[in-house]
């Protein structure tokens, strides 16, 4: 992306969000690995430690489970911690505290406690990093009642949804993707929104095809839609933004209109977010409105490789999505591996 004047990148926008939170909400603090490092979390938290002090921007030992539990404990006691995991893969060591603790404490204790903890993890893949440094797994967390899951695809959302996540009284998993850090846009003034009111958004409209994605996949869908438009195919593009709890209304009304659905997700296929999108509309719509069978574009059923040629074929691309879109509108009944 070219950098136009007065625009802000995705990573810098996240930093703006943190700056706003730390400056305006004394109960907010951040804790996680790499917060005192110049590179660990990209440019998304640069110098926050010197700006707000190392008591509120806390770097930690290599103890994902313990640090996440500690953040939850502080959240139960009046604070709004953001626990940062520089990679989703590392966060998996903290699954118990996220899924069996944070997501359940409110209901388990009869609604008497809130756990306003935000777990921020970064999807950091590609660059020949391989199988253990590439997972996104949003589908896992979108499966858990009690846990709100947020995935911004634009700098503005990266900033404002971070703020909404941290100000929410519910536990929130906020996932940002390093592949979006290059995106730039002019940011509107900050608005503190109630996350409970946020949901999927229509970012482009057209009668021929509905494309749904989140985070980097939403970005790919937007790019693909532009390319398809050049081919005379106009698409509705829906950016999920909030994956759980999912409000499918917009997707349903869109597919009711287009009769065609392409669900794109940068996670695996089986029991994935793309499956949820398809199942949601399949249940909600009279099958006769469908002009073609819906399709998924996801990762292949394999761990991430390192070797460059394999890596290039592993991740969904704009080209591939465009192909799938054309095929769908052509409505050939093709199957892909």
């Amino acid at each position: 992306m070219k950098k136009a004047a007065a625009t802000t990148g995705y990573g810098a926008a996240i930093r703006d969000g943190f700056e706003h939170l730390l400056a305006n909400h004394s109960e907010v603090f951040t804790i996680g690995q790499g917060l005192w490092s110049p590179w660990y979390v990209g440019n998304s938290m640069t110098d926050l430690d010197s700006q707000f002090g190392r008591e509120r921007v806390i770097d930690t030992p290599v103890s994902e489970l313990g640090c996440t539990g500690a953040a939850l404990g502080a959240a139960l006691c009046g604070y709004r911690p953001v626990v940062i995991h520089p990679r989703v893969d590392f966060m998996l060591l903290a699954v118990d505290q996220i899924v069996t603790q944070a997501a359940k404490w409110r209901s388990m204790f009869g609604g008497q406690v809130s756990a306003p903890i935000t777990i921020r993890a970064i999807i950091n893949r590609g660059g020949e990093q391989g199988a253990q440094h590439s997972q996104s797994l949003q589908s896992w967390f979108a499966h858990i009642p009690g846990l709100r899951v947020v995935m911004p695809s634009t700098p503005t959302d990266a900033r404002d949804l971070l703020i909404a996540s941290v100000l929410s009284d519910d536990p929130v998993l906020y996932l940002d993707d390093r592949w979006l850090y290059g995106l730039e846009e002019k940011l509107p003034p900050i608005q503190e929104r109630n996350l409970a009111d946020e949901g999927p958004r229509l970012t482009r409209t057209g009668p021929d095809l509905t494309m749904v994605g989140c985070s980097y996949s939403a970005h790919l869908c937007r790019e693909a839609a532009a390319r398809l438009s050049a081919n005379g195919i106009e698409c509705d593009v829906i950016d999920l933004r909030v994956l759980n709890p999912l409000d499918a209304t917009l997707i349903i009304s869109s597919v009711k209109k287009t009769g065609r659905l392409l669900a794109v997700d940068g996670d695996w296929r089986s029991c994935g977010m793309a499956a949820e999108v398809i199942a949601s509309i399949a249940e909600a719509l009279d099958p006769r409105v469908m002009r073609a069978a819906p399709r998924r574009v996801t990762l292949p059923d394999a761990p991430a490789p390192t070797s460059n040629p394999l890596e290039r074929s592993y991740y969904p691309t704009v080209d591939y999505i465009v192909q799938r879109g054309l095929a769908l509108v052509g409505a050939q009944q093709e199957t892909f591996e």
């Binding site: 008591e55 640090c67 006691c77 009046g78 009869g110 109630n194």
Partner: protein, 359 residues
Amino acid sequence: MASLDALIQRNAGSLGTLADAEHYHEPVMIDADDTEALLAGLQRMILIRVVEEKIGDMVSQGVVKCPCHLAIGQEAPAVGVASYVRQGDRVFGAHRSHSHFLALGGSPHGLLAEVQGKDTGVSRGMGGSMHLIDIPNGLYGTVPIVGATIPIAVGAGLAAKMDGNGAMAVSFFGDGATEEGVFHESMNLAALMKIPVLFVCENNFFSSHLHIALRQPDASVCRYAEAHRIEWARADGNDLAAVRAVTREAVAAIRAGDGPRFLELVTYRWRGHVGHREDEDVGVKRKDDLAVWKLRDPISRLAVALEDIGALNRQQLKQFWTEAHVVVEEAWATATHDGYPPAKALLSRVYSGTMANKQ
């Protein structure tokens, strides 16, 4: 199983006689402690004993259906530590926490309603025996995932440190929990950040059916505090005065800003790991040991000591027990007539949907 006996002996390690059921049957030494506090503590231990026995009976009758882990025989650690918990402190427990709840002043009715799944329960019928909360009394949560509340307590301590009001967090857990990696991560974090948290390990030698000799190379867990550079103390967990003494010192240091402290309180449970039976699902040797361990009863040992100095007489003691029974029976009766949570509670308590007020 002579070989296991031998193993257990070898394994006793630094616990010495504390690991031997034959010792500490005599009345506890109380001259160094405050008589009023000990009398109050005795009453509280009796209340816990009576509540637990009531729950045990109701479990055996099939009236209480949720899994209940009874703390009969382990009343002293809860009561001794609780006597130094003050307004603003935050306490966390685990699966065997009826004692912690009651020691902190929790209402017997709230507990007895909760184990029946009533809307009037302390967790509004959503948690049962294994998920208790009582924020007004400082109990911030007990959960059955072993070790899970240890880092949470460290986080509560971090919050207290940030608040800078001299409050502390308390984490109650068992010897089995020290086998979870998160216990070590939490200890390191607390030591590194000098977090005001009191780690209290109730070492009762068992993790469900397994004796600690079959789970760890040494029966004493203070070695972990040593490794994480956290000052520790060990005491007879069936001696209220001893528990109060080590707690007093640890809490003073914590409130003075010295960082975390660790207590190992050696005790024994009189019932099976879960449920009302005495010898259910227990490790070998336990059957024979239990009778001897019962002679290390925290209640009678304290009662006799108080009688010996004339601070208590048979009459009053009998009175304590009767009062406890009255309270418990009344609470139980009320709870049985209370209602269940409404159907909508299932979905209405999952999310708050609210957000922070602007500042």
